[in-house]
């Protein structure tokens, strides 16, 4: 089963180029290019796409102001967000995990789990 990848870009030649390149890996990725010029439309399309991975350009300042990584993680709790800085060839991967911790013991247990990873 291919990985669902959303490439989110507002003003990014890099992101659009990357999406084009990733589409060559048809057996591996199902790629959705989402134009984030109209933010609410982009969020709706992102939620519809249900991506496993969201790729953003670290230099797409307008996008990251409107839809910061934290917002993406809240919208798509199970997804990984890959932020690429093409200027330095550096890639950051963000993910979040939501757990239920009604008592301190649960929280302590969770913290042990995280530290063990």
């Amino acid at each position: 089963m291919s990985l669902r990848v959303a490439v989110l870009a507002q003003h990014s030649l890099f992101a659009e180029g990357l999406a084009t390149r990733l589409r060559e890996y048809k057996r591996v990725f199902e790629v959705f290019s989402i134009d984030a010029t109209v933010v609410e439309d982009a969020i709706r399309r992102l939620l519809e796409a249900e991506p496993t991975i969201v790729i953003v350009d670290a230099n797409d300042a307008g996008l990251l102001k409107e839809i910061p990584v934290t917002r993406l993680l809240n919208l798509l709790p199970g997804a990984r967000v890959i932020q690429i800085d093409a200027d330095s060839d550096r890639v950051q991967v963000f993910f979040s995990e939501q757990r239920y911790a009604p008592a301190t013991n649960d929280l302590v247990s969770m913290m042990h789990d995280i530290a063990a990873v």
Binding site: S12, L13, F14, T20, R21, D35, D60, I84, A86
Partner: protein, 223 residues
Amino acid sequence: MSEPGMSLRVLVADDHSLFRDGIVSLLEAAGMTVVGEAGDGVEAVELATRLRPDLILLDIHMPEMDGLEALRRIRAALPEVRVVMLTVSDDDENLVAAVQAGASGYLLKNLDAKGFLASLRGLQRGEAAMTRKTMAQLMEALAEKKEERKSEPRDLLTSREEELLRLVAAGLSNKAIAQRLSISENTVKFHMKNILQKLNVRNRAEAAAYAVREGLVVPEAPE
């Protein structure tokens, strides 16, 4: 240049390989033929001479030789080749310098893919590969330059050039200046070249001496 309808032969020069690969994939998907890729200005000039593409996409800030110098050399050797700057820099000086050195276009990396490809196709119709916003910026910058030429040398320096000259007068090397101003060394060299031309002096020592003598700058004490 290729006839309209024929595949455009393109050389892409950018030192950031991830970005470069993205551009290559966009161009290929649009039916253009990428004949080569360069990671620095020296390689860009070498490949341009060898491959004789129809079009070169050239980043400005590159190691070994920056894009503006590469542009000058390519235009001198291959006047028929179209060169379009593809850069993050919306700096007036870079824009004017590129156009004066013969660039056929100046595109920013925050352009969308549709606009980018449309601009490149426009070259085949004799258009400049430039957004209207960049064109307006260019016209304004050229008008300002015309005014500057009427002034004395001291009025020709931009605030950035004055800042750089202060640091030169304090004895900092290009590398130290680059670190202090958070810019690349190539950018420092580019500014220095402009400063030497504007002040009509031969080297940095003369520029610093002139600046202090004329009261253009008060030397900053070195750290």
